[in-house]
Structures are given as structure tokens and as C-alpha cells.
Amino acid sequence: MITQVKSPILEIHDLTVSYDQSPVLWNVDLSLPSGKLIGILGPNGAGKSTLIKAIMGLVDPSGGYVKLFDKTLEEVRSRISYVPQRESVDWNFPASVLDVVMMGTYGKLGLFKRPGKKEKELSMESLEKVGMHGFANRQISELSGGQQQRVFIARSLAQNADLYLMDEPFAGVDMATETAIFELLQEMTAAGKTVIVVHHDIYSAVNYFDWFIMLNLHLVASGPKETVMTEDLLRKTYGGKLNLLTKVSDLIRQKEFNPLKN
């Protein structure tokens, strides 16, 4: 059940990604409309984060390509913002909340130049949007998990992009914060931005997202909520991995080289 759209904001063509030779994503082929809040669903190890990393060029695909705004990533990088997983960094790094949010302005600032007054103001505004402006001078090591997530979201807001890719921004976040962040994301999509979110909780997902991508090593579904939120597709997504697919993965891993590589 894969709905393709005309003039997509993001087009993924036959994307295959492998880590250490084992394929973790098989032939993902989809296109996404703009101005929507899009959720990526799937069980642990389904390749959700890998899909986002492949879109951002952080992992090399062994086949296929990604196009954003009908262009290559390099041409439109400044219009895309990425929120990595909270656990991917060491929060003991000696920096203040404002220091981290200011990193969102680095892309436009370029190399060498130091952030000035304008960048600081922009960062403070972003912090205000996530309700963290009172924490600007706090050390990041003193934050709770939910606060860390909000700092990462503020950093991506400071980039002022058109397309946002967020990797598990709701992991370790309490209910009140989750609702507040979802409301913020809905405001953003109402203003014409596109937000793609890796999410683990189907129950809250149904309430908030307009469009779903369902993954389980391969693409199970991609389409508007009404068409893909079916018992059958959910069972295909969460009901265990395809037996044959895991066997082929094992077969490939035992080879001395990666046969999927171009």
C-alpha cells in the first residue's frame, strides 16, 4: 500500500542500505507530499533511523538515490534540518543550552565566522518556542531527558528550514511535553513546513500524524493516515521480520564482499 504523490518534497528511489554487509533497508521506494506531519513507524531494528540517516547523507546507500525538492541533497541542504537521537551525543560535554541551540545557526554562518547578536536572538526565540528560554545558561549536563529533546528541537528550529527530519524526538519525554511538542509540530506544518518524525508509540501516533511510513526492513506502507492505518498493514509492520529476508541477510553477511554494492 504505497501512495506516490506528484511534485513530492522528498522522493526515495529504490534505496538499499547495508551495515557491515547486512542489508538493513531493502528497496525503499516512496514519495512524500509537502506541508504534512509524517510519522515513520516500525519495530526495533526496522531501519527507521537508518532511513533518516540515508536521507541526510550520513550513511552511504548500497543502491538507489534520494531527491529533495527535486534536487540533490547538496543543493538544498540549508532548507533541511536534522534532529539526531538524544542518546547519540555525550551530554556531559561542557556547553550551555544556548551554545547547543546556537549550533543551529552554524549552517548559514559557514566556517570560521563566530555567531553574533543576530544568531543569539534567533536561538533565544527558538528556545522560547519549546518553552526552554529560562534554561539558556544552564549546563546541558543538568538537563532531564525531556529537556534535552527540547534543546535539540530548538536547535533545529534555529535553522529555519522547510523540511525537518527528527529521529525519536519523543523518546524519554513525559506526556505533557509530548503534547506540547506535537502542538508545535502541527503549527509548523500548518505554516507550510514538512516534518518527518521517527516515532515508537502507535497510540499517540494515530492522533497526531497526517501520513505514515511503515517500515520493517522493507517498506510496508506509505500513505495518508486513512488509507494505511489498517490492522492488516500494522500486522505486517509489527508482526515479526520476514523469514526469507533474514535468511538472505545471513547469506550476504557470509560473503567476503557486499554483492549489493554498485
Binding site: I80, Y82, P84, S88, P94
Partner: protein, 430 residues
Amino acid sequence: MEDFLYFFTFQDPSIVFVVIGIILLGVGSAYVGTYSFLDKKALLGDAISHAILPGICLGFMLAGEKNPLFIVSGAFISGALATFLSSWLNKNTRLSEDAIIASILSIFFGFGIVLLTIIQKSGNPEMAGLNQFIFGNAIAIQESDLYIYGGLAVFIILCLTIFQKEFSLLVFNPDYGRAIGFPMGMIRVIFNILMILSVVIGIQAIGVVLMAALLITPGAAARFWTDRLGVLVILAGVFSAVSGVLGTYISFVIPQMPTGPWVVVFLSILALISFLFAPKKGVLSRYISRRIYLKKTHRDHLLKLLYKGIEADKSGLPIEEIYEAFPFQKKQSEQSIKNLAKDNFITQNQSFIELSISGKSEAKRIVRLHRLWELYLNEYMNIAPDHVHDTAEKLEHILTPEMEELLESRLNFPKLDPHQENIPRDHDEL
């Protein structure tokens, strides 16, 4: 004493040169090292410093003398080769990083020692100073060396200052850096070059074996004192410069005494002081705050005991009964009674202890927190009433007024805890 005055009044221009050199080199390597310490790549510095020995020897062989330009270039090239090899092996083999670093270190260093022995056998009269590169001798730094070593140190410090935001990104979140289009691979290469250079400039003064200590120890010691990157870097630089100058002084007073080991001794002393006495993170400060906390919990428990006395219709308790309630803790009990009396929480009439008005209010607060938490565990987490006491006994001391408010509203201002005991409010009559 005479030596001390002579050295530290800087009358001798050659001492001035040496001191300037050692300060620059100390600050430069501490600056680079702090980043690599934060990046958890401390071992790489050790591998590089050992790996430059063959380069030094080859440089010497080619020049036929201790020409600083040849030696620095040789050292740089073999350091770069070691760094490149370790990242290539990491990418293209399944060897773990620690195995790679350990092999690179020993292979390069072993080869260097072989070359050093060959040079010593060759009978070249210039070779006398070459041994200094193992453990370092700052006093032997000459004016012409200073321009090269000092110049490189200044270059390192400038580079790190200019690229501060790029290097912070490299350490904190390189993936994000790549996502916003920064050439993180290139930035990593520049950082590695600075790291090799900082090792290279230290070979004359500190020596290859101990250079890693000058890279990592200052940052590690400074980390105990601060959570701010700017302060951290400056403090690391100061630690490094102070140890460098003191180590040089020892080499000056005792001729033939290598500088490197003494610098490391002073650095270690600074690191030990930081570990023990730094505020907040130091061992002593953590011990003291734990002691203060334990004292407070004892006081809280004593107040609770008196409160429970009131619940059982005893207006107060004889002091002996309090001592009995806390067996083997008579000293602490005496101390707590003294403190509570000083704060006007209790009154002591001969040996009879009673709660004052403010004491009653404080005791009610502690009992309230205890019982609210018990009720929360029971109602929201489905924990049986006979299993809730222990955590409540610990949490009653740390729950904040905000948490208390939250608990009250979540539980809808309850009257009774899971043991059917009254949850006291401030306005309740006692």
C-alpha cells in the same frame, strides 16, 4: 635558594627563552589535549607521541646532525603516518580500536628504538643529545629551536581559537555537523594535524614517552573545576604551563635531570589536588555534602519521632527514650538535639524534649511528604502498603515544595495514607 632566585628572576636570557618555550608548548598541547580528552580519544595522543620516534631518528640520519627542521619534519611525517594508518585500519579491518592503537604504538616505538641504537653505534659525535628526545630536556632548548617550537605552538593556539565552533561540533555531535554541510572529515584531519604538531613540539622539552601526559592530564584535571568549555581550556593551559616551568626549574637545578618526568610529577600533583579538593566534583566536597545530608536525615527522623509521640498523646519524650530509638547513634542524637534546639525546633526542659511551634510545623512537613509518597506509590504504582515505607523513608528528605504541590493535586489532597494514618497539614491542630 640562590638557584631559585636566579631562575625565577629571569636574569639569564637563555632561561627566559626556555620558560617562554615551555609555557607556549604547555598551553598549546593542553588546548589540543582538552578537546581530544572530551572526544574520548586520549589513547591516540599516546600512540602518536610514541610513533614519532622513528621520524626523529630518520631526520637526524638524513641531516647528520641535530637540525631542528629535519627532526620536526621527520617527527611530523611519522606521526601523520601513524594517525593515518590507525584510521585506515579502523575503517577497513574488523580490529577493535584499542588493538589498533596498541599495535601502532609498539611497532613504531620499537622501530624507533632500533634506529636510535643504530645511530648510537655509528659513532656520530652529534648524537649525544638524541637521547634527550626520549625523556626530554627543556634546558637544552636553544634560541633557534625556540622559533620553531614556539612558532608552531602559537600556530596551534591560533588554529584552535579560530576553529573553536567547528572543533566543538566535531567533539559534541559530528553527525549534526555533516547534516548542516560542514566538511567534518576535513575538520577531523585538521584536528589530527594539530594534535601531531603539539606532540612534535614537545619532544625536545618533554620527550616522546611522556608527551601524552601533557596532552591529557591538564584537561582531565581541569574538568573537576568547571563545566564551561572556555574556563576549562584556560585552566588546562595554566596547569600545564605551571607544571612545565616547575619541571624546567628542576632540570636547571639538577643538571642531567630530564624535564619530562618532573613535569609529569607536577601535573600529577595538580591532578590529585583537583581530584580531592575541587568544589562539587572533588572527593572531599562530595564526602562533606554527604555528611551534611546524613546529619539532616537524622534531624528529620528525630522530629518525626517527636511527632509520632504527639500522635500517641505524649506531649514530648524523655531524652533517654530518644537515645533508645536510635541505637548505637547516641553521639549523632546528642548533636541533632543540640542543633534542633539552636534552630528553635525543640525545647529542652531538664531531660524532657518537646517540639516548639516551628518544630511542629517542620515535623508535620516531613511526615506529610513521607505519607504522601507512600500513598502515591500505592495508588499510582500499585505497590502494596507494606512495601512502600522504605523508599518513602529516603525520599521524604529530598522532595521539593513543587513536588509536594504536585503530589497533593495528583492525589487530590488526601486525608489518610495507605496505613490509614493521618496526613498532617500545617493548619491541623496538634
